[in-house]
């Protein structure tokens, strides 16, 4: 059957059906089904969130000052970003302002997460889609060293001996016959195009990045006590600053600041000498693989983040841009208002929930969720052994959020497209520079590779911003301001009887919003709409497909039974399923009764 979607895609589910479940190297659980035609081109795509945890109903009736800890556990990969969004939502509801230092420290932590997340994503979740570690065994270490010195001349680890050692270790590993994580990979698939030397260089960096990422997060450990899941505080940050006085062991002092500073420098160095050069080098071999643009050339959404000054979220004060682009019109960037009930709405006609009546969209402040797990009439298999889903019916634990009715892409590429369209100077310079270096037209950004490249550029930009806010923090301390928390409204007796608020951030994977209603000092309703809810959304009532689905369309797959190309494009979004599928209702109590039917 051929269907034309309102957002411009032609779906044909008549060809061979290919199922990928589990989709691996993502956070959480996901399934993907596609149809391919006789030329192995994808003609229909179905993305399904396959887990659901129900955190918001659990939040109901709790102390709003505790909500950050619950929501932080939505995701341990983008750890901290839900907590930040949560404290912002509660502060917004209760009219709490935070001190300048708290703003700087929160920004440093959020930027630190962006860099950590982007690096881990590229090397540990995404690289194996492009890099063949088995092929690296054929590399000449000397030639690899030359390649390294060409693409990243300032990286200190570049000698032939160094690469030979890594290669030997890899060889031993492979020859042991216990391939571990590389077992059953698609290593003889013709979709892998790198020469052995590039494979060895990138595999080596896979290991280097694994070592580095544990260093990056120490910024969270200093300010938040641990990582994953550092501690946060409504009204500021929990760590005090004590530069001169006694007992400074527990507080931010010169030694702690020096450690933060050295880590910030490490991030900047790695981005400059390894991450960006790798993306350019690997990308150079895949320049003709320009699939996967999906919604990026049509509809992008960003909430913006990293406020220069505390408590000021106006668009011109945000270092990461805010705005929406629709209908592929880059000349107009629309402003985004998370409070407007007409702008953001969620639909559930193709999700395993019900609103009681079909076709309805609800703003998160008024969100309702009642689980309704059922397979459509054309699904194959059984209720507990799904062979094929029926996308004409309900088929995912993810809801379908829409901005003014449009399915939107969010994430680093969406941020960069919005920033580029707005004339954001740093972003424009970075994008133009990269395209020039790689000799590619602007249109090339609307692709799987564009998504991957935008993430690397953003990591570099976030490195610089991290330094900016570190300097700002130190300057403030020099000027004698060491406040990190505002406790005026800590006591619930100072709160209004009823309040509602919104918190928004740019999580590594895209626009993230929390909506909270507080009544009598307790959470009355809590809703999250997260990046992978946007990107991984199923079809909506009107039939618009979501960003994952759109991005897979018209891609040629070399061997349909080996999902290399599907993984490439899905991974380019850095899917986070635990985030996307937890959404719960204010009427959660009923949900406890939904259970076993």
């Amino acid at each position: 059957m051929v269907i034309q979607t309102p957002n411009g895609f032609t779906l044909d589910n008549s060809g061979k059906r290919v199922v990928v479940d589990p989709v691996t190297r993502i956070e959480g659980h996901m399934r993907c089904e596609v149809n391919v035609d006789d030329d192995n081109m994808i003609t229909n795509a179905v993305s399904t969130g396959t887990m659901w945890r129900g955190l918001e109903v659990i939040l109901k009736g709790r102390d709003p000052r505790d909500a950050w800890a619950f929501t932080e556990r939505i995701c341990g990969v983008c750890t901290g970003t839900h907590a930040l969004t949560s404290v912002r939502a509660v502060e917004d509801a209760l009219g709490i302002t935070i001190p300048d230092n708290a703003n700087s420290i929160r920004n440093i932590m959020q930027l630190n997460l962006q860099i950590h997340d982007h690096v881990v994503h590229f090397y540990h979740l995404h690289a194996l889609d492009w890099v063949n570690p088995i092929n690296a065994l054929k590399a000449d270490p000397k030639a690899t060293s030359e390649l390294q010195q060409t693409v990243g001349p300032n990286h200190p680890l570049s000698s032939p001996g160094y690469f030979r050692d890594v290669q030997n270790r890899l060889k031993k590993f492979v020859e042991s016959g216990q391939l571990g994580l590389f077992k059953n990979g698609y290593w003889d698939n013709p979709a892998y195009l790198l020469p052995p030397e590039a494979d060895l260089m990138a595999t080596t960096h896979y290991l280097e990045a694994l070592d580095l990422q544990k260093e990056i997060v120490k910024v969270h450990t200093i300010f938040g006590g641990k990582n994953p899941h550092p501690n946060w505080l409504v009204g500021g940050v929990p760590c005090p600053i004590n530069i001169d006085g006694t007992g400074a062991v527990g507080a931010i002092n010169m030694e702690r600041l020096n450690m933060v500073s050295s880590i910030i420098d490490k991030c900047i160095e790695f981005n400059k000498n390894v991450y960006l050069p790798d993306v350019k080098a690997i990308g150079g071999f895949y320049k003709n693989w320009l699939y996967g643009g999906g919604l990026s050339s049509k509809a992008c959404l960003a909430y913006g983040d990293i406020p220069e000054n505390a408590n000021d979220f106006s668009p011109e004060q945000l270092h990461l841009p805010r705005g929406a682009i629709i209908d592929g019109d880059l000349s107009t960037v629309h402003d985004v208002d998370q409070r407007d009930p007409e702008q953001i709405q969620e639909y559930v006609d193709h999700s395993w929930y019900t609103y009681g009546e079909p076709g309805k969209g609800l703003h998160p402040w008024d969100g309702v969720t009642e689980a309704q797990y059922e397979l459509g009439p054309n699904a194959k298999g059984t209720r507990t052994n799904i062979e094929e889903l029926d996308e004409a019916a309900k088929y995912s634990w993810i809801k379908a959020p829409r901005w003014k009715g449009h399915a939107m892409e969010v994430g680093p590429l969406a941020r960069y497209i919005v920033g580029y369209a707005k004339g954001h100077e740093e972003i424009k310079d970075q994008v133009d520079g990269l395209l020039r270096d790689m000799d590619l037209p602007l249109d090339a950004v609307f692709s799987t590779l564009g998504r991957t490249a935008a993430r690397a550029l953003e990591s570099e930009y976030c490195g610089r911003l991290q330094k900016h806010f570190f300097d700002k923090l130190v300057r403030n301390c020099i000027n004698g301001d060491t406040a990190t928390a505002n406790v005026e409204k800590w006591d619930p007796s100072t709160w209004p009887k009823e309040a509602k608020g919104v918190g928004a951030t740019e999580a590594p994977r895209g626009a993230l919003g929390h909506w909270v209603r507080i009544k009598d000092g307790r959470i009355e309703n809590y809703q999250c709409v997260v990046p992978t809810t946007w990107n991984g959304s199923p079809r909506d009532t009107a039939g618009n497909i979501g960003a994952f689905e759109a991005s897979l369309m018209y891609t040629k797959v070399e061997r349909p039974e080996e999902p290399v190309e599907i993984l490439r494009t899905l991974h380019s979004f850095d899917p986070c399923l635990a985030c996307s599928t937890h959404v719960m209702s204010p009427d959660g109590d009923e949900l406890a009764n939904v259970k076993v039917r």
Partner: protein, 364 residues
Amino acid sequence: MSQIETFYEVMRSQGITRRSFMKYCSLTAAALGLGPAFVPKIAHAMETKPRTPVIWVHGLECTCCSESFIRSAHPLAKDVVLSMISLDYDDTLMAAAGHQAEAALEDTIQKYKGNYILAVEGNPPLNEDGMFCIVGGKPFVEQLRHAAKDAKAIISWGACASYGCVQAAKPNPTQATPVHKVITDKPIIKVPGCPPIAEVMTGVITYMLTFDRLPELDRQGRPKMFYSQRIHDKCYRRPHFDAGQFVEAWDDENAKKGYCLYKMGCKGPTTYNACSTVRWNEGVSFPIQSGHGCIGCSEDGFWDQGAFYDRVTDLTQFGVEANADQIGMAAAGVVGGGIALHAAVSALKSAQKKTQDKPASEEV
């Protein structure tokens, strides 16, 4: 198939000499209560033993345990994965997906029946026929049972697998269930925490490889070496608790001086974990050091023990809070008071948690 990289080779490649290796074998023999005659046997086993296969499955979770695991500094995560174990299935990190991923799982189960370790991150939901967590089109609980059947032992990573964690907090809408309530016929090592400390995770694994046995467990099934003391027992702020010096409000002068966070709701006095000894991320800090109280994330049901900023102990039942307030008001480290307090708190040692459960509006 050519030579297998053995445990011995791994140790050698990490700079351990033959002499040290033999010494290590003697110590192992002694630790196991075996005579010197067994030393060559142990050495032989170490020299020829292939890497232990590990299957790492994921239920309802947030992946913070995997993230923590890769933060390990000693040993480095890359050394664990390349040289110590064979991580044959882990949907978060493995190259293969879909059918090929499932085939890797089956292959490992068949080939290493009874000899692989099953590591579980997250837990199975039992409502909706288990379909709140689907893997390969089927309920996760089926994958869990299937992989557990032939496992040598199971490690329950983190609060989710050990106790249920956040999705099992009231009212637990998906009926998220800890592993030991679903798998009842296998040895299970609980490594709680949200997440557990990286070096605790790799410490448990390397202990099992090194000593070829399960670590000694407490009554709850946790390794004693990491979970037998409360955060409070070894907290570097403990002298301030004993001296009655408390943080009274966030960012106050006492907070800057690093006083005790007990009055800010710190759950250190009732939480068993290694945070105040091993600390986090290569010993950089731990929650209390960075100014926030412990939220008790390695304790069973910590989400439902009252608000995080409520004080730990019941005023009327234990009298600790009264002491803390009085001493706090006296504002000096009266030694006698400190000792009295000590005693009061020590009396709680193995006692159950008791959290004030007042409405938020009445507290602070």
